[in-house]
Symmetry: C2
Amino acid sequence: MQYTWLFGWLGETRERDVKINVICPATDIHVRKYSRQEQVIVHETPELYETVVKPYIAAFPASRTQWVENILSGVSEQNKMLYSSSDFVILPDMKWDLKTMTSLYLVALVRDRTIKSLRDLRKRHVPLLQSIQKEAYRVVQGKYGLGRGSLRMYVHYQPSYYHFHVHIVNANQAGSLGMMVGQAHLLDDVVSLLQLDPDDGPAIFERMTLTYGLGDQHGLFDSLRRAQQEVQEP
Amino acid sequence: MQYTWLFGWLGETRERDVKINVICPATDIHVRKYSRQEQVIVHETPELYETVVKPYIAAFPASRTQWVENILSGVSEQNKMLYSSSDFVILPDMKWDLKTMTSLYLVALVRDRTIKSLRDLRKRHVPLLQSIQKEAYRVVQGKYGLGRGSLRMYVHYQPSYYHFHVHIVNANQAGSLGMMVGQAHLLDDVVSLLQLDPDDGPAIFERMTLTYGLGDQHGLFDSLRRAQQEVQEP
């Protein structure tokens, strides 16, 4: 699978007007992801997570994240690796051209396969998350010369794939849909909430109702909307 | 002061390409707010809030939010009022044209002047926040025919003005800078965190480190950046 992108100008002597992303060959999942979708705000209670979302995640075949396993095991992308330890790796995201600093986009992939998403994060994961922050700052400062105030790190919920990963982008890359409140959760906020969590009892991300916009092409759309309507219209 | 906006097309038989916002007369604060700014990510600890941000908020003259007082006391905008109670009002945001449903934009202004920002929210405010949600759903359903899944409600931190208010927008209006993670906090997430807060001790928004991107023209930029550098480079 190949990702690339191009810029377009709608006239001469202008700033660029459009960015065109090319994914080839595109799977049906890609087409659904990038189609214009009606967004509906859903409120995922802990109960909805248990009854709807968790089974949805568990039903994915391992092949869906085989590309992550290939990176972690050293089969692919090794020439791009920026950091690797027994806990996680950092490498450029496939959407980045490795050149344009304002659109710097890295991703950290953890080795702990038990963390499927934000919902699985516990207080014991704080050292892992802080280590990702520290190494991301170090790598980006050393290789690209950007200071720590220039990085925005966040996780998606729902994510595109259920193997825990962190998006690491230039703080000046603004207005991308992936940074929208609801879908994106700042890693710093996540760490702060986990640190403030009591030492015993269910963790904050087990207890919170998570609210986010879901496109009508998302695999969870029908079941979550139906479940919400039953709650709201008894 | 007048707000208005226009659409522009860069060719015939196209979807519109640009939206031009006009603010006239524009104050120096408007010019700074809309200038292209370098974004720096700041980590506002509870200590930085107490020593830097709280005094900054307290130093604003009352005249800066006189326009809010005029709305609350019935001096201005009364013909636009969509809801009013002893706790809060809801009316269209000045940036909305009152017609285009995809860019529906309302604002709720509370009457409790002691709530300056997200930092001041406590568990006792949950009924107020839920009442804002309920009335926003009711007003938008009744007047504009949009269901509750079509509304995204959030608060800004830092906000543009320190009188607590909630942004109420069409969930399909995506990619606006005001919805960026860090600056925007979903009202639903805020309510969920307050509900999960213990009944005694300091509240979650007193204890959290809040992380957000701050433009270099913001009044807090120099002092927060200096304070952070002292922490990071001892």
